[in-house]
Amino acid sequence: MTKQIIVPFGPQHPVLPEPIHLDLVLEDERVVDVIPSIGYIHRGFEKLVEKREFTEYVYVAERTCGICSFIHGMTYCVGVEQIMNIEVPERADYLRTIWSEYSRLHSHLLWLGLFADSFGFENLFMNAWRIRERILDVFEQTTGGRVIQGTCKIGGVRRDIANEKLAEMSSNLDSIRKEIEDLTNVFLHDDTVRHRTRNVGVLSREDAYHLGAVGPTGRGSGVAIDLRKTGYAAYGKLNFSMVTDSCGDAYSRCLVRCKELFSSIDLIQQAIRKIPDGPIEVKVTGAPNGEFFCRAEQPRGELVHYIKGNGTKFLVRSRIRTPTLSNIPSLIKMLQGCELADVPVIVLSIDPCISCTER
């Protein structure tokens, strides 16, 4: 008789706020086999393009995910703008960049908290989320929404931020940076954290690249891909260096995200310094006719919005390929042969976001 334990891990499981299921086959606590199952939250909203005009579909696209809602909305808008050849005002581009980077801060802090929770560091979780509330406050002050911002629209943005407010945000970020320094110090230097993350879920550069790992998951393994380098929105006008690390374990992925927090703060402050005055939107007439693969760098990595229109108000197809979907093959590889205790850590180390994955 085999000495195995089969654990139905999820879909309802306390470490997973989102439902995903793993059939874990364990020997003692070693994972000898793992078969994932997703689809619990598939809604099929890509099909809503048949019922929502492309302008209202922004609201749907935004609700692809409650974590980087803004980036989803923006990527969709940029895609449509590319097809329709719309030139967005520069101030709008800067605002989009600022909100995108705030999204990244919010998402990474949220992730750091959940990651800490995955190895049972409750206090760290609480601290990360405490800091994150300060980012959400900025969102609410500038957009009216904490997690679903709803400020992007085709042709620009719906709301401006007053210059005084921008200045205040910039100085506010200085104090946030200090708190984040304290926080990331623990993630990077605490021995018990290192015990739980070092050499856990190791993914080599070759594997990462060919399995399609993107975002911090890929960059933690040394795959230097960051779509912001393509210069959409205002990124082309700002200075930043891509963060990568070579070890490919959970710690590296954490390290990449920790460092990205600082680069995001830096980007926002740069953008606030450079933002020009001017209009925030242009008027949009007509309907998209054509197709475009619009890509953007989400907190979790490369996002692809494929948009195809036929000149009517209803799109033919919107296809959203989210980073998590691309990272799932890597996840399966990493889970083989790990310990049960590592399962939550590894699953979270790719920062899974199932909502957008299943759409």
Binding site: E81, R295, R319, I328, S330
Partner: protein, 123 residues
């Protein structure tokens, strides 16, 4: 305005494996596989590959009955897209390394993107 560079290269189903192999050899990364219904029984499938931020899309156009070969031999992780394509569009993919046999994304309507669905109550 910055446009992300991309190209679409229509190919035959029969050339798919060869072309994908070539991509792999040239060091392309698989960015996505996506399907679009373009006619009553016509589906466009885009295989998007990325290298240095340039997107190369191989496009095949097939019918629901066409059995297309899996590219999981070259790109192990392609199974997520191929299963998805099967579950949502009803595209038959042969030889997937991890074949969920229709359980990857379980839907209330079979092949929802392959058919027209009428739903929705009045407010």
């Amino acid at each position: 305005m910055i446009t992300q560079e991309q190209s679409i290269i229509p190919i035959d189903v029969g050339k798919l494996i060869g072309s994908v192999e070539q991509c792999r050899n040239e060091g392309y990364r698989l960015a996505q596989i996506g399907c679009t219904k373009v006619g009553d029984n016509a589906f466009e499938i885009n295989y998007s590959f990325d290298k240095d931020y340039v997107l190369k899309n191989l496009r095949i156009t097939v019918t629901a009955e066409t059995e297309i070969p899996s590219i999981t031999g070259m790109y192990w992780g392609a199974f997520v897209y191929e299963n998805e394509m099967h579950d949502l569009f009803g595209i038959q993919v042969k030889g997937i390394n991890i074949d969920f046999k229709g359980t990857f994304i379980r839907t209330s309507v079979k092949y929802p993107f392959g058919v027209t669905i009428v739903k929705g109550e009045k407010p």
